[in-house]
Symmetry: C2
Subunit: 231 residues, 2 copies
DNA sequence: TGTTATATCTCGAAC
DNA sequence: GTTCGAGGTATAACA
């Protein structure tokens, strides 16, 4: 990993064209050749970057560039696409390289898959008398998150999202349309379950006869394992 | 901006729990207090991070931690949410701070807005005799990208995407449903225009009587301004 | 300030 | 390899 702090201007041409005026920034060159340009604020996202696989080559500035104060030009080209990142270096404040070695990678847990698992275990949250048929019930257009039966034995299809958006309602609608063509299952009703359901999505769901269910993740997790949070 | 290269392990607790085992990484502390942890590969995204506003405090390791080789513990807490990032530092290979100053920010051009502008200017791409009614035609459920009339004077609603996905077809369908309720406009036909249209989206569109139009961005831009690409 | 749509989205998994 | 869905999405535009 190479760290360069320098006054620089940057141009990118690829899926869009973008320009960074002259300013002091951090240029990060990783072992895989990828390049990130970061400013001193606005975390997370680099101002400009090039993803691997790519190659970096350094050029001497031409007459005009040297007159403008450019000490070196870096050309970073993507190997597959025609994306190009051009960095014009002026004063270099810092330049160091470091050997870091492989990274074991991030271990994460607890997202939509967890919600699905918890709701399958706590299926009565759908209402009294509900029973789980199966998770990830496969159809021609994809898996239904949860298939269950209600107190009367009728089939219920559940779509689970962390954030219930209009897209999720459309998705569930397509599933319901398909499932209701199966005489062995029909009539199938729908439940749209999410931690948070957007008003637009709720309106659309209700309009289509789909029931909305807000899930309390912390409460569901608390039932499952009261000490699962780190702190 | 502070740059620290160190062997470290990292724990995050917030919307999910995540753990990074001991390895050598770059820790970047920005002027706004935000923190990024980067490995030497996989560009763009930090392994772990904390967004501003947040506060960083350093602690002495306790007995057990010191025995395990921990030289310092950084606790980064988000000011508003309860998100917490815990960095256990072992050997520190590099530690430097730098003054960067304000960044003028990125100037970008050419995305969906540009496509919309170009298609409005080159409305005949929709077919002979088409005329622009207006861009961003407002409705109760949002703006229709382009409203036009065809050779016979019938209304045409155009939805523009860079990548034509199923969502875009659903969106256009909702617009058409609404527009066709207006006796002054009906019948309104639909055109789904994108640089690239996914097969599923095309199938759905055709099934609903929506015409698909693939846009050649470079050609459209070439008509507009032949020397607008950087290289 | 809250909500919606976009992104050089990134990233991973399923097909 | 391509497609699809999720993300601690982030971030800009807009009401």
């Amino acid at each position: 990993m190479r760290l360069v702090l320098a006054r620089c201007s940057v141009d990118y041409a690829g899926r869009l064209s973008a320009h960074l005026p002259l300013a002091t920034r951090l240029i990060l060159v990783k072992a895989d050749g990828s390049v990130l340009v970061h400013s001193d604020s606005l975390s997370y996202k680099p101002l400009n970057w090039m993803s691997p696989p790519c190659t970096l080559s350094e050029f001497e500035p031409d007459e005009d560039q040297r007159a403008a104060g450019v000490s070196a030009v870096w050309k970073v080209m993507h190997t597959k696409t025609a994306d190009l990142l051009l960095i014009s270096l002026h004063e270099v404040l810092h330049d160091s390289s470091h050997e870091l070695g492989e990274d074991p990678g991030l271990q994460k847990d607890g997202v939509e898959a967890h919600l699905q698992k918890l709701l399958a275990e706590q299926i009565s949250l759908l209402g009294d008398g509900h029973r789980l048929v199966r998770r990830e019930y496969m159809t021609a257009i994809g898996p239904v998150d949860i298939l269950a039966t209600d107190g009367t034995g009728s089939t219920v299809a559940v779509e689970i999202k962390r954030r219930g958006d209009i897209d999720g309602v459309e998705q569930l609608t397509r599933y319901l349309e398909l499932l209701n063509r199966d005489p062995l299952l029909a009539p199938v009703s729908g439940v749209f379950a999410a931690q948070e359901i957007k008003p637009q999505a709720r309106t659309l769901a209700i309009d289509r006869g789909i029931r909305c269910l807000t899930l309390d993740y912390d409460a569901m997790r608390g039932v499952d394992d009261p000490h699962s949070r780190l702190f």
